[in-house]
């Protein structure tokens, strides 16, 4: 039983690594679509989202089968449940990339972002995608050191997000209310994406090592 459990858990982990790559690509492309007002790329992200949803359903089925057939207990049980939670967060990250792409499409051919805030989004996009790719790396290399920098990367997104708000709220914001509303929601999408990425990576460290970095296993990340 133990061996079958470990083989199946490894398959599930590889599935989650694949999902991490999918949602990293989605956010990378959505950010490019946003920055370059690239409609074709936005459409690509939008049509690809169904694949992320399918991948999540497959991960859940795999996890259910593992629970039903192996009936794991203690740490093994928590590991499978962490994988189920991770799949849910990854799907949500895909949704957030989708929201970014839809915003780019809605305003096309106009750019969504005033010049003044472009670099914020370029940077938030970079860090968000990096976080998702780190998750993939944690799973594939079992190198939990790769997860160490996650907290500080997430802090970076939070800092960018906070600073972005001071720019929008500034009395001299000259781009009007509609642009401020778009920028506000977009900022929130990146912030949430980064939060979920950190949560997934930590859960995957748990899946790989049986220990949750910096948190008890049941604490909300």
């Amino acid at each position: 039983m133990r061996e079958a459990y470990h083989v199946e858990l490894e398959q599930l982990a590889q599935h989650l690594a694949g999902m991490s790559a999918q949602v990293a690509d989605a956010m990378e492309q959505a950010t490019k679509a946003l920055l370059d007002a690239d409609l074709a790329l936005a459409e690509k992200v939008i049509s690809n989202d169904a694949k992320v949803d399918d991948a999540r359903a497959e991960c859940e089925e795999q996890a259910y089968a593992l629970l039903a057939l192996q009936a794991p207990v203690a740490t093994d049980l928590r590991t499978v449940l962490a994988a189920i939670h991770a799949a849910e967060s990854l799907e949500r990250m895909g949704d957030l990339a989708l929201h970014v792409a839809k915003t780019a499409r809605r305003r096309h051919p106009d750019p969504v972002l005033p010049e003044q805030v472009r670099t914020y989004f370029a940077q938030m996009g970079d860090v968000a995608v990096k976080l998702a790719r780190q998750t993939q790396e944690v799973i594939q290399t079992k190198d939990v050191e790769a997860a160490r920098s996650l907290e500080s990367d997430d802090d970076q997104v939070d800092d960018l997000h906070r600073h972005l708000f001071t720019v929008i709220m500034d009395k001299e914001w000259p781009h009007g209310v509609a642009a401020a509303v778009d920028v506000t929601l977009l900022g929130r999408f990146y912030e949430r994406y980064a939060d979920h990425a950190v949560s997934v990576a930590k859960r995957m460290v748990f899946v790989v090592t049986g220990k949750m970095p910096g948190y008890g296993p049941d604490e909300e990340l």
Copy 2:
């Protein structure tokens, strides 16, 4: 085993009903704090959020124990996993009520909402709280009919939310960018709360009946 399973599942369901009541109260109070610029009430919601987090951790522990000791399979297994997902969504609903309360506190003693949009938030708050209370009712009465109106209530929040955006985006919005940003984020908090409430109620219908209303059990709600 079957009897122990059903007794423990019923306890878990009652726990989730309690969480539904907590997050319904939180959103009701947060909305009142927002509408009346009531600082004491906002503080109450903020300090109570830790109780929701604790309740979620307890629900998860109960679910883990159920899985470890009873090793349910097939529908029974999916039922317990639906309960775990429901607990996660309920905690998220608590967080969203917390965000509303924090917004009210941040602007105190100024009101956050321009007069023009107050009724939108009063209505979104009513429907959001109603959705959470319906979840509680579904669990306690096992009356799945109570869940039927959930979709249309959620549509109502979406309609209010969409309409709210047309008000903010209107060229004659006279309240400035800062108010527009607050209203945008608040609108999003209510919309997400309602989405989660519908998702929880459907999962609880599944927990109570073994059938997911209108969806396959693995589809993202």
